[in-house]
Subunit: 326 residues, 2 copies
Amino acid sequence: MADVAERVGVSAITVSRAFKRPELVGPELRQRILDTAQSMGYVPNQAASALASARSMTVAVLIPSMTNMVFVETLAGIHDMLLPRGYRALIGVTHYSPEEEERLIRTYLQFQPDGILLTGTDHTDVTRTYLSALSSPTVHMMELLDDPGSLSVGCSQEEGGRLMTTHLLERGYRRIGFVAVQLDPRTLARLDGYRHALEEAGLYDEKRVWRLPDPSSIHLGAAMIDRLMAENTDCDAVFFCNDDLAQGALFQCQRRGIRVPDQLAIAGFNDLPASAWTTPTLTTIATPRYAIGRHAAAMLLDLMDGKEPPRRRVDLGLTFIAREST
Amino acid sequence: MADVAERVGVSAITVSRAFKRPELVGPELRQRILDTAQSMGYVPNQAASALASARSMTVAVLIPSMTNMVFVETLAGIHDMLLPRGYRALIGVTHYSPEEEERLIRTYLQFQPDGILLTGTDHTDVTRTYLSALSSPTVHMMELLDDPGSLSVGCSQEEGGRLMTTHLLERGYRRIGFVAVQLDPRTLARLDGYRHALEEAGLYDEKRVWRLPDPSSIHLGAAMIDRLMAENTDCDAVFFCNDDLAQGALFQCQRRGIRVPDQLAIAGFNDLPASAWTTPTLTTIATPRYAIGRHAAAMLLDLMDGKEPPRRRVDLGLTFIAREST
DNA sequence: CCCGTCAAGGTTAGCGCTAACAGTATCGTC
DNA sequence: GACGATACTGTTAGCGCTAACCTTGACGGG
C-alpha cells in the first residue's frame, strides 16, 4: 500500500480510502490509485485490515452436513445474501454433533467473525457461554426459538410432521408408520408432530415407529422396506422423515412388486428434486431452505449494522405437496 | 494475550507459544496457560497471527457449483484433509464462469491464502497472471494438465466418454446419441471421447448430438426424452453427460412406456446414489471425486510445507459400472 | 472581508500477534 | 571445574492497515 501511495504521489491512507471508502476520494484520483494498484498487482491485506478496523467481514456458518442437499441450499441462500455486501462465509460442518460444533466455534472465534449462523437449537453449554460472551450477533436457522432473546429463522418441523400425518389420516390410512433416521432434533420434532396427530386420533402405536441413528440415504430407505416386510408389519402407510429415504422405499417397492399407494402408501419430507419424478411420484412437504438461508443472512446483516431486525423469529412456513404415493 | 500472560505471570510470547508451538513450553506451565485462557474466554486473534507470521492458514477453494453433488463431495475430501492440519478452506462458487472465477480470485487474494485449489483448467488470462505472480501454490482439480509446470489431480473426462461409448458399441448399439448440457470443459471432453470412439467405428453422426447450455437436472433429462421422441430420433442408445439427466430420462421412459434398454438404452456419468436404484438401474461411470479432493489437498499441503509432491499430475482413474439400462 | 462550512487529503498511533535473537538455568562430560 | 549442549523463557521490533484527529483550500453568505 505504501508503494502504491508513493507511485501515485499520495499518502497510504488515501490508497486505503480509495478501496474501502471510495466516496472520500476524488473520482479521478481514485481511478488513478486503482489503476496503479492493479498494474502493480497490489491487493489489500485482509488480515491487516481486520486487525486495524476490528471488522473481519466474515460470518461463521455452521451446518450439520454438506452431503445433505437441504443444508447446501441454505448455504446458497446465505452466500447470495452476504457476498454482495462484502461478507464472506466461513463454513463449518458439525456432522450433527453439538461437541463438534463446540470445537468448530472455538476454531472460528479466532477469526473474530462479525456474525454467526447456527443450525438448530441443540448446542452445548460451552457453546452457549462462548456465544453469549461474544459481541457478534448469532442467528439460529431451521428451527424456531420461542425465547425472545434469541434470533431464529426457520419453519416448524413439528407442524410438518403433523401436517403429513393429518393428510394420511384424511386419505383413510389408519395404521401409519414412521421411520426416523439420523435422530437429529428436526427429525425428532417431525416424529413428535406425527405422534401428536395420531394420539389425537387415538391411533398412535409405538410399534409402528422405527428409530435409526444412521444417516438418511436411498439405500437405507430400500432396506427399510425389506425390514418392514420381514417383520410382517401391518402398516398401510409409512411416513419417512426424509425424501431420499422415501425414494429408496419407492424404488424397492417397485422392485418387490408392492403396489404404492394401494398396498402401502409412502410419504417423505423436504421435496427433493427426484421426488416429482419417481413412479409413483412422492407426496412430501417442501421446506423453504433457500429462503431460510437468505432471511437468516439478512437478519444478521441488520444486526451487524447495529439495526434491530423487523422480527426476531421468522417462520417461513411449509408447503404440503400431495402426489401419487399416498 | 497480554492479560492472560500477566495473570499467569509470564510474557506474551510464552502464551503465544503455548497455543502455536506447544513443544516449546513446559508441560505444566502450558496447561496453566491454556486453563487461564479458557477461564478468561481468551481466543487467539487469527488476523493478528496471520499478519505477524505471514501465514493465513487458509486455502482458497473455487468450485463451479454447490448444488452439483460432485463438487460437494470433492469439497468434503478437501475439508477432511485440511482441517486436521489446521488449515481452513475459503470456498468460492464460480457458477461455471471463468470471469466469476477471476472476480473471486481477486477477492480471495486479500486473504493471502497459503494455497489455492481450482476446478478445471479453463481460466482467464488475468487469473493466470494473478496466480503466477503469487508465491502460494495452486493445484488444479478434476481435469489433468499436461504442462509439467502445473499441478493437477483428476481423471480423464475424455477417456470416460470413450469408455462408455465403447461399451455401448460392444453391446451392439449402432445409433448412439449424446446429450451434452452445461457445456463446461468437462462435459465437452466427454463429448470428445464419445465422438472419437464413434469416428473410429465409422458411426459418428452430428445429428445425434444435442448441446444445451442449461444446468443438468432430472427435469431436463425427462424433457430430453420428450424431445427425442418428438424429433423421431433413430437412436438406439443415448449417452447422457450426467447421471441426473440420465435418471430423468429413465423416469420419463418409464412414464411413457419406452422399454429400457430394449427400445432405447440409456447411460449416464458420475454414478450418483440414486443410479443404483432406478428401474432399470443405470449404467454409468464412477468418478473418484472425494479422492480427488483429498489428493489435491494433500498435494497442496506438501507444497505449503515446501516439499515437492511425489507427482505433479495424478490420474485417479474411472470406474465403469455396467447395470441394466444398457 | 470575515467567518463558517465542506470536501479532500494527511499525520499519528496502535490493532494483537510472532520472528529473530538473546538470555538463563540445568545437566552431563571430560 | 570448565565447557558445551539442552530446555525453557524473555525482549525488541514490526507485520499492513485504519480510526481519530488534523490541515488546507475553496466557496458562499452576510
